[in-house]
């Protein structure tokens, strides 16, 4: 009997197939393990489905001056599935396709085949990837398009790449700008495509500005613990992948790759991470590659003690798996939780006065509007939001000042009829040792009435 010989190519596809199966299992679990949709932005698109010029519920009413591409694609999916399932299927499909694109991009890079194969697995088990293609909303489509454009660029189909880059403007503005910066660094490194990159850069910038104007909107502060999933970050990177990526970084130093591209790219990503946490959605593809380089270095380096080698490798692999699996275990805690949805259903039954608003934490704004069909005070869609900075200041005054008169004035100014508080804001108040809005609500039962109190959720009515 002849021994079966595998070519390098077929082994590559074998690993890809295995990775794809794991990817299907992981994204399948994260997307379909809950009956409801997890995440924030998807609820905005689920409510509007990319149609209309005016949104009557967001920020008390605003014109739709933000990208709606994700909502439009979501609408196509709703022809086949009911809306919540459509959002899940869309995320899932984009995840599988992006994983495939990543595989083909890796095939074009001058790295060792083992490193490329390992990178696939680091990507699949990273909490950021799981979040991106399960709950992130428009970023899932934007990253898919970005990967597509990069692959086309590698195959030198520049015109098609430009088309995809321009499409991103319809999906996510932040992704456009960042994508262009990466593109420019690549072009300068590659030298062949500088003219094309400059043209695409200018075209895309003008096109985006034409569509949405110059203002990028409010920027949420980034905390270190948010960037690492094991420290509680919602879509942070895995701690062990981060450690390995440091070693990968050192491996790159020793290799004859262009220092300008790799280090320029990483410095940029690293710096921007302190300003925008969503940079992680891009970072994770580079980080998976670096972690793979780091792990491969660990496997191939000469160890003095094989005992320590085996233990260390086992610990590293367990660590990476632990981050991914423990993240999957807590996807239903990311919100909205079942308790919140119950509370919202209570609110839906209460009378709705004309033009009245529900006050909640900003991060709950999209949920409030989707589940209760009431106007929200503010939500996380900051781009071109009316008076967003003033509203966010007033939001903080309402939550944390504890000043009865100020709170009362603001409820009148914004026509706030209900106040929704959940575990997160209650915890912030408890941990800071401040009573904030709780003290005000408790102070006078004639002004505020507690309508509903469940586990970690409170609903108050502001009495006229």
């Amino acid at each position: 009997m002849k021994p079966i010989k595998f070519s390098e190519l077929s082994v590559d596809y074998l690993f890809f197939g295995l990775g794809l199966l794991i990817c299907i299992a992981v994204l399948g679990f994260s997307n379909f393990s809950t009956d409801y949709l997890v995440g924030d932005e998807s609820y905005l698109h689920l409510r509007l489905l990319g149609s209309g010029d005016y949104d009557p519920l967001s920020y008390g009413g605003r014109s739709v001056d933000y990208p709606t591409g994700f909502g439009i694609v979501l609408r196509w999916f709703t022809f086949l599935f009911e809306p919540v399932l459509a959002a899940k299927v869309l995320h899932f499909t984009l995840g599988i396709l992006s994983f495939t694109l990543f595989f083909f991009i890796l095939r074009k890079l001058t790295l060792l085949v083992e490193e490329k194969r390992l990178a696939l697995f680091f990507l699949v088990f990273s909490p950021t990837f799981i979040y991106l293609f399960s709950f992130s909303g428009s970023f899932s489509l934007a990253i898919f398009l970005a990967l597509g454009s990069f692959l086309l660029l590698l195959y030198e189909h520049n015109a098609l790449a430009t088309f995809l880059i321009l499409l991103i403007s319809y999906v996510n503005v932040y992704a456009v700008f960042f994508n262009l910066i990466l593109l420019f660094i690549y072009a300068v490194w590659n030298k062949k495509s500088v003219k094309w990159a400059t043209l695409t850069f200018l075209l895309s910038i003008f096109f985006t500005m034409y569509l949405y104007g110059l203002e990028l909107g409010y920027r949420e502060p980034v905390y270190l613990s948010e960037l690492i999933s094991d420290f509680g970050g919602e879509y942070g990177i895995a701690f062990f992948s981060l450690i390995l990526s440091f070693f990968g970084f050192m491996v790159i130093w020793k290799r004859p790759y262009s220092k300008f591209f790799t280090y320029g790219m990483f410095t940029l990503l690293y710096l921007l991470l302190f300003f925008y946490s969503w940079i992680l959605f891009y970072f994770i593809f580079f980080l998976s590659l670096l972690a793979a380089l780091g792990l491969y270095e660990f496997i191939t380096r000469r160890w003095e003690s094989t005992l320590i080698k085996h233990f260390s490798l086992l610990l590293l692999i367990l660590g990476v798996l632990f981050s991914g699996i423990s993240y999957l275990e807590r996807v239903d805690e990311l919100g909205p939780t079942a308790k919140m949805i119950n509370a919202f259903s209570v609110l839906e039954e209460f009378p709705k006065y004309q033009e009245s608003t529900i006050f909640s934490q900003v991060s709950r704004g999209n949920w409030v509007s989707y589940f209760t069909h009431h106007k929200n005070f503010a939500d996380t869609n900051y781009l071109n939001a009316p008076y967003s900075y003033t509203r966010l200041d007033d939001h903080n005054t309402l939550l944390f000042s504890g000043n009865e008169n100020e709170v009362r004035d603001l409820t009148v100014d914004y026509n706030i009829q209900y106040i929704f508080l959940d575990g997160e804001v209650l915890n912030i108040l408890l941990e800071s040792g401040r009573s904030g809005i709780l003290e005000v609500l408790d102070a006078d039962p004639t002004l505020y009435t507690l309508l509903y109190e469940g586990d970690d959720v409170q609903l108050w009515r502001v009495n006229p």
Partner: protein, 495 residues
Amino acid sequence: MLRDKWHLYVLTILFLSVLTFRLFFSLSIPGFTGDNAYATLRQVDHISEHYGIMLYDDLSYGGRELLVSPLFYYFLTFSRFFISETFVFKILPEVLLSLLVVVVYFITYELTKEKGSALIAALLSGFVPLVIGATLNSLSSYSLFFLIFLMLFFFLIKINQGELAYVDWFVFLSFLLPLIHPGALIFVLALIFYWILILAESSSLKPVTTELVLFSIFLVSLVEFVIFKEAFLEHGLSLIRYNLPSRIIEDYFVEFSALSLLYSLGIVSVILGCIGIYIALFKTKSYNIFLFIGLILSVLLLLLLKLVDFSIGILFLSISFPILAGFSLRYIYRYLSNLRFSRTILYFNVLLVFSILLFSVLPSYTTAKSVIHYGVSEEEIRALSVLKDLPQGIVLADLEEGNMVNYYADKKTLLDRNFLLISNANFVVRDAKLIFLGSSDLLTSQRIANNEITYVYFSFRTKERYNSTTFLYSENTQCVETLHNETYQIFRVIC
């Protein structure tokens, strides 16, 4: 023969002296000092009964989830099967802590190759007032933790010297360390600083040391992530300080003055230790000492960022200074031997021993007396048995007495020192303080009602803490009934 092994005899005497000193105080009262001892006892009882760690505590904070490093509790439970309870709970921890003297001796000897300096370091380590205060009669997991912690350093030094037989031991103990106490993260941080210091000297670690350092970083991180996963998600990096409320942190920094800190660490240790750091950084190329400088730097960094409980951070400092002191003595002796006066070393030794007696042994003695004074006496156990016979209800006891009341009275308590996963810790601590101070009857009654408090336990420790002779609120209202009115007062809230 006798001349060759004189140092071992002295070391044995030293070990026995420290052990006797500790046991003399520890066995003088039936109870323990500090609330943590009772948390340990409750865990050990739970393991004996259910063969597993207590993960949900019905009594603490009126019911809460627990996250603990389990090995020390299993170790005590296992020992209890074979030895008497008194030995396991009272004597065994003191033996383990006294063994630190032996480990410090061998570490310092490896660093200096001088028996005299190593013996002085061992003596200093046996009588650090702060260590005595934190560990005497307290059934503390630090007893096993510090022993393994220092042994790991010792093995690393031996491995650096080329003795690879210690690698397996290092690997084995690295597994145990994070299972005893989350302070294992400080070990990891110390190794990282050690690595940085070596790199800063334009040198590099031996390949096997690099492997061990990396292995320890991976292992400790993974084990801590697995044990404290929920707490990491809830508190993020501030888990390292055990979710300590800001009020408590502020209290610590107010309580400690630089002078009292110097006194607690041992003046001789600190002065000689600082000289040791200077010599290590600027005068020698002995990289093993960087392990302990790395430890000091890591603790200082954590203290600076307020990421570690102040008392724990200082405890780690206090075990590294005697070793650094021993290291510096080698150079001081060399310097003195070059002087023209023939008896300089003798005079120096007399001065040194006298200083150690004055600044380390004597303060340790007064600290030990104070520790025993604050321990649980027969009288207190009797008072708590009164509480035990009453119906279940939430007891307000001082922050440092929660687990003790849980243990002796089998009652729920409002608070204790374990704040992990307690989201409203700041509020509870504030309420407890204001109720004990009882400055406004109306607010006190509101706070008692809000926290559903049924009993108030007012010990002499609480009286001292709040500078009060009795529970003020009980004197101004008919709503409080006195159940026990001696040194340890117990009140019941009746309306």
